[in-house]
Symmetry: C2
Subunit: 205 residues, 2 copies
């Protein structure tokens, strides 16, 4: 099994270093209690004015009609691999504050923050999540009667990642690819834009 643990320059939590977004999923259902804990983790994220702008629509493969309906809200390129995941989720954001109907500039950010919690919980439970922005929000609105000022923003395929060796060529290549990130000095600045923050010695690891 390819763990693809991050090549970190500074030490971080193993669940953050080990997380990656697989294209290949095992044909194995998730425990219902695990699914509840994933949403419970999202629930306790921070949000601007505690608005909790995150909402989820869930479909499991056991219910093929519901699963097909949710799958149809993804762009075709994502349907091709996401159809193998045991659980699909739409992440739907409330774009206005419930308390005053004003635009919530933090809403989409806070949907991401809740997703961060959900992913940490998933990794702890041996589950993997592959998020997608390639979805059809208008189709989702129509199929699920999503109200005005709410909008489907992301989809999440959740399950147990497959052994890449057992995947078709195209998926295997993607799931074997090494994880790459910009170094900290390209995005952590101090004083002015582009000026790297003086970093502690990496030998601190």
């Amino acid at each position: 099994m390819n763990t693809k643990k991050a090549a970190t320059d500074y030490p971080i939590l193993p669940i953050l270093a080990e997380r990656w977004s697989p294209y290949g999923f095992e044909n194995r259902p998730m425990l219902e209690t695990d699914l509840c804990s994933l949403f419970e983790a999202a629930r306790w994220a921070a949000s601007s004015y505690n608005e909790q702008p995150w909402n989820y629509l869930v479909a499991t493969r056991e219910n093929s009609a519901e699963f097909g309906r949710l799958l149809s809200c993804l762009v075709e390129a994502n349907q091709a691999w996401a159809k193998e995941a045991p659980v699909l989720v739409l992440g739907i954001v409330s774009l206005r504050f419930g308390r005053n109907n004003q635009d919530n500039r933090a809403a989409v950010h806070d949907l991401g923050l809740a997703a961060g919690n959900l992913l940490a919980e998933a990794t702890t439970r041996g589950l993997s999540v592959h998020q997608m922005i390639g979805i059809l929000p208008d189709k989702a609105r129509e199929l699920y009667q999503i109200p005005e000022h709410f909008e489907a923003w992301t989809a999440l395929a959740i399950g147990y990642k497959a052994d890449p060796a057992k995947l078709p060529d195209a998926l295997r290549e993607r799931d074997m690819a090494l994880r790459q990130r910009k170094p900290l000095n390209k995005f952590v600045f101090t004083g002015r834009w582009g000026h790297p923050m003086p970093l502690a010695s990496k030998s601190a690891i």
Copy 2:
């Protein structure tokens, strides 16, 4: 010390249950190595097309000129309490893809996702983070020469949370307030909008 651990309905990681956003911070600097690990955690978040749209500007209280400059990018109500934190950070999002200059619909979401990683790492290290959307993006652009198609979106106050008993009345009340969230059946749906997902028995805890 008030831990305010979340009253969870389903079990989740302690670092997610114990995290909350304090208004009061101890007058105690952070370790430089901790700060590096917080950004390292953000670094390994997922992002659409691996764009990594997150960028950070950092100021520590030790450098009072830089700290004051960053503090001036917060709205006054946030300056009032955030000025006690040992570290302030602006979260700046790249709104377009570097590879083709097209709008990145996932950018703000992915800034939130990176923040989720940063918060998990912070909680593990005994640190707390209070995020803010109440900032002055135009002032930040001017002071730090933030380029076009990038925008300051959030601020983060980072440090050790204070014992609420030692805080002034207004802050103590806020930091003593219980954490509240909607139950899962208000935001996790299946089949159609507003129809709760059948949930595993809570007795599974």
